[in-house]
Symmetry: C2
Subunit: 534 residues, 2 copies
């Protein structure tokens, strides 16, 4: 059923496109236009015939515009049911004329409160009361009323009116839906503002409202039979959706998980060096930091575990050079699923694009936005709800405490912190052995996802040996994500060749662990910060 | 600054407690009461003096109550600023008297749409327009107006009025905050209703609104320095928050992760048997199904890897017996962090409660609610947004395809499905070896969290051997969560003793893998469903 428009109420905060649509409504379709305050002035100054709401209701705009449209003639004109006899009789009796279209958008509360030092008084003034009432009334009565609460729809609505001489029920229902989402969002922003005002020191409130907007449907989820999609948080300006895909197949659900982990690893390192992180199943399987060369950095990361590196997600923190692209595609012929970097040199791109399926992602200045990215907490579903926590973004070393007789030099200290960061990003329990070379550090054995400390140490050793790093285990350095409950884990590491170990400390048997370290002449550092990741 | 109340507007859908508070306001504090429709009748029939809004505004209630309070005298009376000279002059000029208190709650849209076969027309009638307008206006003007949108606050407000002869600014601001959360929630429910109406076949909409309510602050998050809390989704009726803690220390963030995984494992098994799942770091380290005895079930699960079982989360699907409690506390003296079951026999509880720190959780009929629990999707943060997917709740076997020459009997089939379910719940890549005994099945080696298939198989074998299951590997059965990219993983499993293996299939080298299975006389089943879990 097409809805013809005879009378429209136009009252907008965002004036974009309003003159154009009003003009068309008046001139082409002979619509009678009611309007308020600033909108009314604007339309009139553009030569459009407008009836002021105050004249229409015979009730003035009062309290600096706090009350303009909140009147039975307006709300009743929107709300009455055109197919209801009693409603029609009452409308006639009280001279309430039908309003068939409402064009209205709200005071921009969100933008207002983004200004620094906005007073509470000024913020309150930006809480729209009349606007939400009108558009909600129109949305409720979408059977009889067209509501346009988003200027982006103007062209579409005009097109439909021209083509169909009215607006379809389907379009009206769609517009109504949008109103309720908008108003929900609008009120949630105000609610959060009040919460911050009432409880400025509260980390997480009693209620949290999250609004997500779809970025991409995924072909499937973690597995082939799970429906899935990727959404952005409309309150957050920085995120993975800012990363640009340059070529390759569609980004999958599991790709997103790895891309997320990879970005976070890169965010944890000094961006003036050349850093490479290679991941699969959200855990790193090779990471290297080279202070001078990109190619060397990826070579060292790759050799940790070339088997797992195949088909993995690779992240670099500097523009990809031709030399690097040549190494991957031509020299080593490595199958990479995702390669991400701030940018690609044109020559590098020419080489990489030959691999049509490989997903190339350009993340620009993403790594400069660490603080912003970590401002919002992290969510994770548990049945019927979510666990919410701050991201684990604080420095991995809370206190640097050398608890053994043997100490470490500056370079070893750097290598230990490197090892500890990798351990942080590896699924718990984790252990990571690293080595030092001229220009940097690299992983030689990473153990992931074990349920006991000693096992994960042994697993890391085993992987180092399997991929040809037996000799490099000698005088290696190791980090592991929580304390040793017994000395056996430390013993296993030293036996394999470790000369220095970092972990948070905090076990009830720390004294036994320290004693064992001294017996074995191993440097042992406690840093007082655990780095679990499940 | 205390706010004194001279005039209150009362218009409620939920009538609970409204007579009492109106009576007190009128009798004790001499408040003039304005009211509408049903509320007005109720108050008057209880002997309370009430002025009808229609008489007050000289404007009748119209359109079956669609328009009652939407009038400048009402909204203006709420909205004008009592400290603003111009507002005061205008109020006087247009005979707008101040309304100092608004007691109002909304049509229960959520309850209405929960009724089966509700027509769209009836649903639309339950969208409240006047109510949200009034309470939002009052909340905006909280400086001058007290708004009570939740009947639970009546006693508190009366108490404050009696004690302080008015309502403090702090209370008013708190009440205003609540209004905006309520209205956000109210509109999000309507928005979701419209979305389902407009797009009945849509799995996930373009926008998703989630409202979470805090259940518990956690002492810390995944690590000691992360702030964290556990929230319920207000739209979901079944969840972990229904589980009752009987004794023990506070449930930690990491406990919740494990409890969630443990519940989901139990949900995956036939509840008429005795099932035990033991977890740490969200992966199982021992699971057993015994068709007759609880004690036997936990003994078999425990012996898989007694080291990791210590300090773990243990879940049982049947009431805990005295015999079981005695085994844990007295015989084996196992330190368990969380023990969860539908209930505990009194004798069992006496024994278990001796361990004061052990967290005992009673989950009642939780396991009967699988369908409801999985109705809503799962969320997981990635920077700036979330990945949303259906839970992996479909049967783990999509097609049972024996692709080898060797087949399996019914018992072996059952054991393979058991193995595959454990692999599903173990972090990817995973592999699980199981054995059959008289009354059931149990795990003998579980490999978790590896980045290559062959490694995780070897890891599972290694753990089986370490914990004394070398002999049981002979003629064992294995499940692994995705396909073999090469035959080497299958070879490693058969070499260790496996006689039958299940995986989804789907590798480009499936033919080589099948060939190898036949060479080694191993039964190989493809089930066409991958069970990754990251």
């Amino acid at each position: 059923m097409m809805k013809k428009i005879e009378r429209a109420l136009i009252s907008v905060f965002d004036k974009k496109g309003v003159v154009e649509i009003a003009q068309i409504l008046a001139d082409e379709f002979g619509v009678e236009i009611l309007s308020t305050g600033g909108t009314s002035k604007l339309l009139r100054s553009n030569g459009i015939d407008v009836i002021d709401i105050a004249d229409y209701t015979k009730s003035p705009e009062i309290f600096d515009g706090r009350v303009k449209t909140l009147h039975p003639k307006v709300e009743g004109g929107i709300l009455f049911r055109r197919n209801n006899k009693k409603d029609l009789q009452e409308a006639q009796k009280f001279s309430i004329k039908p309003i068939d279209m409402v064009i209205c958008n709200l005071y921009n509360f969100k933008e207002a409160i983004s200004k620094p030092n906005l007073s509470l008084e000024d913020a309150l003034e930006m809480i729209d009361i009349g606007g939400p009432t009108m558009i909600r009334a129109a949305a409720k009565n979408f059977n009889d009323v067209v509501v346009i609460s988003n200027p982006e729809h103007y062209p579409k609505i005009i097109r439909e009116m021209r083509e169909k001489k009215g607006i379809s029920l389907q379009t009206r229902a769609f517009l109504a839906q949008e109103v309720f989402f908008q108003v929900a969002e609008y009120n949630s922003i105000i609610a959060n503002y009040f919460q911050n005002y009432n409880y400025p020191d509260l980390s997480f409130g009693d209620k949290i409202i999250k609004i997500y907007e779809k970025v991409q449907d995924c072909r499937y989820g973690e597995n082939w039979d799970q429906f899935a999609a990727y959404y952005r948080d409309i309150d957050i300006k920085e995120g993975l959706y800012n990363i640009k895909k340059i070529s390759g197949k569609e980004i999958s659900f599991n790709n997103y998980l790895d891309i997320d982990s990879c970005m976070q690893i890169l965010l944890d390192f000094n961006n003036s060096y050349y850093n490479t992180a290679i991941l699969k199943h959200t855990s790193p399987n090779g990471v290297a930091v080279d202070k001078k060369h990109q190619l060397k950095s990826i070579q060292m990361a790759f050799k940790t575990d070339p088997m797992s590196a195949f088909g993995g997600v690779w992240g670099l923190n500097k523009p990809v050079s031709e030399e690097t692209a040549d190494f991957i595609v031509n020299k080593e012929k490595i199958f990479i699923e995702v390669l991400m970097a701030p940018s690609f040199e044109p020559e590098a791109l020419d080489i990489l694009k030959k691999k049509e399926k490989m997903i190339l992602l350009e993340f620009g200045d993403f790594l400069t936005k660490r603080d912003k990215l970590y401002r919002n907490p992290e969510l994770r579903s548990v049945l019927g709800g979510v666990l919410i926590q701050e991201y684990d973004s604080k420095p991995v070393i809370k206190n640097w405490r050398v608890v053994s007789n043997r100490g470490v030099n500056e370079k070893e200290k750097e290598a230990l912190i490197f090892a500890y960061k990798i351990s942080k990003w590896t699924k718990s329990n984790s252990a990571c052995f690293v080595q030092i070379y001229d220009n940097g550090f690299y992983t030689i054995g990473i153990g992931a996802g074990q349920q006991s400390r000693v096992h994960v140490v042994k697993l890391a050793v085993q992987k180092a040996i399997e991929f040809g790093h037996k000799d490099e285990l000698k005088d290696s350095l190791m980090g592991t994500d929580s304390f040793f409950p017994f000395p056996d884990g430390l013993e296993a590491a030293v036996e394999a060749g470790a000369k220095a170990i970092i972990n948070p400390g905090g076990s009830i048997r720390d004294d036994l662990v320290i004693k064992k370290a001294n017996e074995l002449n191993c440097a042992l550092i406690f840093c007082d910060k655990r780095v679990f990741r499940h």
